[in-house]
Symmetry: C2
Subunit: 569 residues, 2 copies
C-alpha cells in the first residue's frame, strides 16, 4: 500500500512514542476481544494452550470490519478525552458487533449496563461466550449494545441517522463510520447531501469516516477501485473536505489517524466558531476522513493457501474449521497471541493502565453517552389543547374543510413553543406546502445552508422544517432525531411512503427490543402524516396509487404501532 | 444567467441559421402542444380568440419541466437523424407527460399507436382534451405512452432503468433525463455508479442529462444551489465527463445544446471504438450533459405579481384561474401565441415541414423504438429440462440438500446457452456466492469495469452477473433489462427485499396496465429468489427478520404475481 498522505492538512499532531504505545495497546486489546468473541468459549486470557474445546462449536460473526472499527474507536477515545468533547458514534458496519462490544467492555460502559459482564476475567469469559450464542447477544450492533442508536442489519442509514442525532445538539460530535459497501446503497448515497441542511450554529457536527477496507461480502467495493483522485472529487462534490489516511503499518496509521482526527476536529471547531462567534453565514465544507486499511487487518494473512487478510475472505470468520483442523487451531492461537494479551490484561483479566490511557470518563465514553439513550433526555412536547383546533360542523356532510391546514396551525404552535428548546422537527420530501401545512412557516423556516436567491421563500439557515427529495433521508434524519430524545413528524404522500417500508420495519424492531431493556428509556413516537391518498388521485392518477402502507405497519405488533384514520375515512 | 460554457469540449458544431430555425420551430411546437394539453378543451389552433369555455374546467399537469424535456427531445431528434442512431430515452421527470406526448404526436408515433389521435387539427384537439381528463390519458408518462419504459410517478429510478436498457444492446444509445429533484433521491444517487458495470464492448451507451431547472415542487434543488465547480467535481467523482449547457436565451441554448450533444455522441463513439476495435480495457469516463435552464422556461414570467418562470411556482399549472380571471385568460392566450402556432402548423393542424425537419424516421423515432416495447424483441429463454436437476430423495426427511446450489447449476446452463445471445442477467446485492449460486460463475463472471487486483475472483469486463450493494440499483437494472425484452433473476436476502417494496409496486402496476394495451407485447417475468430466510436466522438474528415481502406481493393482483414456495416450506 502507498504511504499515508493527507491533503490540506492543517494540524500537525505528532504523537509521542508513549502515546502511540497506549493507543496501539488499546487497539490491540479491542482486536483481541473481538477475535475472542467470535471464537472462544473458554480460556479467554489464553492462560493455557488453546484446545478445540475452548472454541465455539458454531463460528459466527464479522471479523473483517472489526479492526477498522476498533481503530476508529481508539482514536475517537483519544480526541474525546483530550478535548473534553461530547460525542456519539454511529457504526455503519454494525455487523462488526465484536468491535463495538469490545470497546464498550474496555471502557467499562458495558459492565455498567450489564453488571454480570464485569471488567475482569470472569466478565471477559461471559463477553466471549454470550456473543451470537443461544440466549446471548446479537452478533450485530443492536438495541442491546450500549451507546448505540443504529442497528447493524440493513445497510444504508448510518449517515442520515448521524445527521438526525446532530440536529439541535450544538455541542455534540457525531462520528459516523460508513462502510465502502454501505456507501453503494441508495439511502447512504443520498444522505451525503445532508450537509446542506446542517446548521453550524444550532446543530452539532457530523464527522463521516469512510471505511475503505476494499471489500463487501464477496466483491471489491466501487469506491475502493476508483482512483483516489476520483474519490476525492466525489467527496468534494458532496461538499466535504477529505482527509485521507492510508496504510497497513499500524504505527504509521496510528500517527496519521491521530493527525487526521485532530485536523478534522480543528476544522470543525473553526467552522463552528466562524458561524457562532463571527456570524459568518457561508455553507461550511465539513471534513470527512477516508480510512483506507486492509479488511481483516492483523488477522490471518493466508488460510488454506489463499490470501485472507486484505481480501473479502476476511469478511466473516477467517478460520472456519478451528475445532477440527489443527492447523486452523494453531493459526487462531497465533493470531490471538499476536496481540500479546498478557501485556494488555492483568492476571485478573482487567485491562492494564496503558490500555485504558486513551479512554474518556463517565458520560463522555461512547458507550455511556445519554444521547444514545434518548429517552433519558426527552421532554414532553408542548402540544396545545386540541379543542382549540376543533372544526365546527353544524350538520354532517354539509361543509368542506382542509384538515391538514388545521394541522398546520397546530404545528405552528408546537414549532413556536419549541423555538428555544429546539426539540421538534418537521420533515418531508418537498411536500409541506402541497400538504397544506404552510402555517408552520410562520414559526420556522426550512433548513437550508446552500445558496439562496431573492426569489426564495421560507428558506432559513436556522429552520426546523426539513425538506429534501429523499424519503429515505427524511426517515433517517427523523429516526436519528427521535432516538436521541427529541420529537418530530414526517408528512408524506401515501403512495411514496412505501419507499421507507424497510426502514420502518427496522425502526419498529428497534422499538420492540428496547421495550424489554429496562435501561433504555422510552423515546417519542415516529409520527407520519400520510397525504394525497390513493382514493383522491384525480391529479396524478395511477402513478400514485398504493394504499398498502397501512397494511404494512398493521402487520406489526400493536405494542408499537398505532394507526389513526379520520372520522370520514 | 451566465453565458453557456462547456468544458473539455471536443466537437465544434456550428448550427446553420436554417438548422437553428428548424430546431427552434420543433421546440416551439412541442411547447405549444404541452401548454395546449394542460389547458385547452377546444380551439386547439387558436383560430379564434381564446374564450373561457375553450379551457378545461380542472387544470392539471406539470408545465415546469416540459420546456426542458422538449428541448432534450428536439436535440435528440437531431443527432438520431444525423447519425442514424438507434436510441431510447428514459424521462426521469415523467410528470412532464405533456412534453413526451407532444413529441410523440409531432413525430407521428402517437397517431401510429392511437390512430384516432391523428396528426391533424382533429387529432390535436383530441390530444389536448384527453390529457389528464376523465377517460383520457394519464398526466404522467405511463405504459400508455409510446416509447416509454419508465413511469413518471415515484422518482428515483430513471438512471438504473436506463442502464438496464443499455445492457447487451451494443448499438443502442439510452438517453436519460434526470431531474435535479430526482437526483436527491437515494436510488438515483446510487445509480450513478452503474457506469462501473457497463461494458463498452457488449453494452450500449447511457447518456445522462441532468436537468438542472433549479426547483422541485416548492423548494430549490440541492444540486442547483452548489457552485458549478462542486457539481462538476461530483459528476467527475461519479466517473463522468461533464458537459455544461447553461442559459435562458433560446438561440444560444440551441447552439450550445447541439454542440453538447455532438460532443457527447462523439465521445461515446470514441469510447466504443477504443474498446471494440482497439481492445482497450480501461474504464471509460462517459459524458454527462448538465442542462441548466429556467423551470417553466418560455411560460409566464409573472402571475398575479409574483415571479413564476424560473421558479418553483412554474412546477405545475402557472395560470390557475383561467376560466374566471380574465387577466389569466389573456396571459394564457399571449403565452400560447408566443410560440406562433400559425408558423408551426398548417390550416389542417399538421406540423409544417420546418417543424418536422429534425424528426427521424420509422423505428428511429423515440416513440417508435421497439426497445421500448420489449415484448416484441423477446426470445424464449433456453431453460434446460428441469428433470435434469431433480434431487433424488429416497426417504422423506432423511437427507440434506442445498437447493440453491442446484439452482446454481441450472443458472449456469442458462448463462451458457445465452452466451452468444446475451439476453439473460443475474443481479444481486453481493450475495450470489453466499446464496450458493456460484456455479453460475463457470459460465459468466461478474460485470466489473473498475480497477482489478490479482487477488480478485470472477470479475469480468464482459460478465453478466451483476453485483452492487444496492437493492434499488439491482431492481432498476433488471426492470430496465426486462422492459427492453430480455430475461433475468434477482437473488436477495428475504430480510432486505423490502428495500424495493415500492419499486415492485410500480413494476406490478406497469405490468397490469400493459395487459390492457394490445400494442404492448408481453415481457418476461421479474423473478426473485429470496434466500437467508427469517426462519433460519441463527447467524444474523433479529437484525435480519422480516418475512413480509411475500405478504406484500400477495396483496397484488394474481393476474401478475406468482409466489412459489419449496415443498418443505
Ligand atoms: C441493504 C443490505 N443489503 C445487503 C446486506 C448484506 N451484507 C451484510 S455486510 C455486507 C457487506 C458490507 O460491506 P461494508 O459496508 O464495506 O462493510 P465491511 O466491509 O466493513 O464489513 C452486505 C452486502 C445488508 N446488510 N444490507
Ligand atoms: C419519490 C418521490 N417523492 C416525491 C414525489 C413528489 N414529486 C413529484 S414531482 C417532484 C419534484 C421533482 O423535481 P425534479 O425531479 O427536479 O423535476 P422537475 O423540476 O423537472 O419537474 C416531487 C417532489 C415523487 N414524485 N416521487
Amino acid at each position: 500500500m502507498p504511504k499515508a498522505k493527507r491533503k490540506d492538512q492543517t494540524s500537525s499532531t505528532v504523537l509521542t512514542d508513549k502515546e502511540l504505545r497506549t493507543l496501539d495497546a488499546h487497539w490491540r486489546a479491542a482486536n483481541y476481544l473481538a477475535v475472542g468473541q467470535i471464537y472462544l468459549l473458554a480460556n479467554p486470557l489464553l492462560t493455557e494452550p488453546l484446545r478445540p474445546e475452548h472454541v465455539k462449536p458454531r463460528l459466527l460473526g464479522h471479523w473483517g470490519t472489526s479492526p477498522g472499527l476498533n481503530l476508529v474507536h481508539t482514536h475517537l477515545n483519544r480526541v474525546i478525552k483530550a478535548r473534553g468533547q461530547d460525542a456519539l458514534c454511529v457504526w455503519g458496519p454494525g455487523h462488526g458487533g465484536p468491535a463495538v462490544l469490545a470497546n464498550a467492555w474496555l471502557e467499562g460502559s458495558y459492565s455498567q449496563t450489564y453488571p454480570d459482564v464485569s471488567r475482569d476475567a470472569a466478565g471477559m469469559g461471559r463477553l466471549f461466550r454470550q456473543f451470537s450464542f443461544p440466549g446471548g447477544v446479537p452478533s450485530h450492533v443492536a438495541p442491546e449494545t450500549p451507546g448505540s442508536i443504529h442497528e447493524g442489519g440493513e445497510l444504508g442509514y448510518a449517515l442520515s441517522h448521524a445527521y438526525g442525532a446532530a440536529l439541535d445538539n450544538p455541542d455534540l460530535l457525531v462520528a459516523c463510520v460508513i462502510g465502502d459497501g454501505e456507501a453503494e446503497t441508495g439511502p447512504l448515497a443520498a444522505s451525503w447531501h445532508s450537509n446542506k441542511f446542517l446548521d453550524p450554529v444550532h446543530d452539532g457536527a457530523v464527522l463521516p469516516i469512510l471505511h475503505l477496507n476494499g471489500y463487501k461480502i464477496a466483491n471489491p467495493t466501487v469506491l475502493s477501485r476508483i482512483p483516489e483522485s476520483e474519490l476525492d472529487a466525489l467527496l468534494r462534490g458532496y461538499g466535504h473536505t477529505p482527509i485521507h489516511v492510508t496504510g497497513d503499518d499500524p504505527d504509521q496509521v496510528h500517527r496519521d489517524m491521530a493527525a487526521a482526527m485532530d485536523d478534522a476536529l480543528d476544522r470543525i471547531a473553526r467552522i463552528q466558531h466562524t458561524a457562532r462567534e463571527d456570524g459568518v453565514a457561508e455553507r461550511p465544507h465539513w471534513p470527512v476522513i477516508v480510512l483506507r486499511t486492509p479488511k481483516g487487518w492483523t488477522g490471518p494473512a493466508e488460510v488454506d493457501g489463499v490470501p485472507v487478510e486484505g481480501t473479502w475472505r476476511a469478511h466473516q470468520v477467517p478460520l472456519s474449521a478451528v475445532r477440527d483442523n489443527p492447523e486452523h487451531l494453531r493459526q487462531l492461537e497465533a493470531w490471538l497471541r499476536s496481540y500479546k494479551p498478557q501485556e494488555l490484561f492483568d492476571e485478573d483479566g482487567r485491562p492494564r493502565e496503558q490500555v485504558l490511557a486513551c479512554v474518556p470518563e463517565g458520560a463522555r465514553r461512547l458507550g455511556a453517552t445519554p444521547h444514545a439513550n434518548g429517552g433519558l433526555l426527552l421532554r414532553e412536547l408542548p402540544v396545545p389543547p386540541l379543542e382549540r383546533y376543533a372544526v365546527a360542523v353544524d350538520k354532517p356532510g354539509a361543509t368542506l374543510h382542509e384538515p391538514t391546514r388545521v394541522l398546520g396551525d397546530l404545528l405552528e404552535s408546537v414549532m413556536r413553543a419549541t423555538g428555544e428548546r429546539r426539540d421538534f422537527r418537521l420533515v418531508g420530501p418537498d411536500e409541506t406546502a402541497s400538504n397544506r401545512l404552510q402555517a408552520v412557516f410562520d414559526a420556522s423556516g426550512k433548513a437550508w445552508q446552500a445558496q439562496t436567491l431573492p426569489v426564495d421563500e421560507h428558506l432559513d439557515r436556522h429552520g426546523r422544517v426539513m425538506e429534501i427529495l429523499s424519503e429515505h433521508t427524511c426517515q433517517g434524519w427523523l429516526e436519528g432525531y427521535l432516538l436521541t430524545g427529541r420529537h418530530g413528524l414526517f408528512s408524506c404522500y401515501e403512495a411514496f411512503v412505501h419507499i421507507v417500508d424497510s426502514m420502518v420495519n427496522q425502526h419498529i424492531k428497534w422499538l420492540r427490543v428496547t421495550r424489554r431493556l429496562p435501561w433504555r428509556a422510552p423515546i417519542a413516537s415516529l409520527n407520519y402524516l400520510l397525504t394525497s391518498h390513493v382514493w383522491r388521485q384525480d391529479h396524478n392518477g395511477f402513478s400514485h396509487q398504493d394504499p398498502g402502507f397501512v397494511d404494512h405497519v398493521l402487520n406489526k405488533s400493536p405494542e408499537v404501532v398505532r394507526v389513526y384514520l379520520p372520522p370520514d375515512a
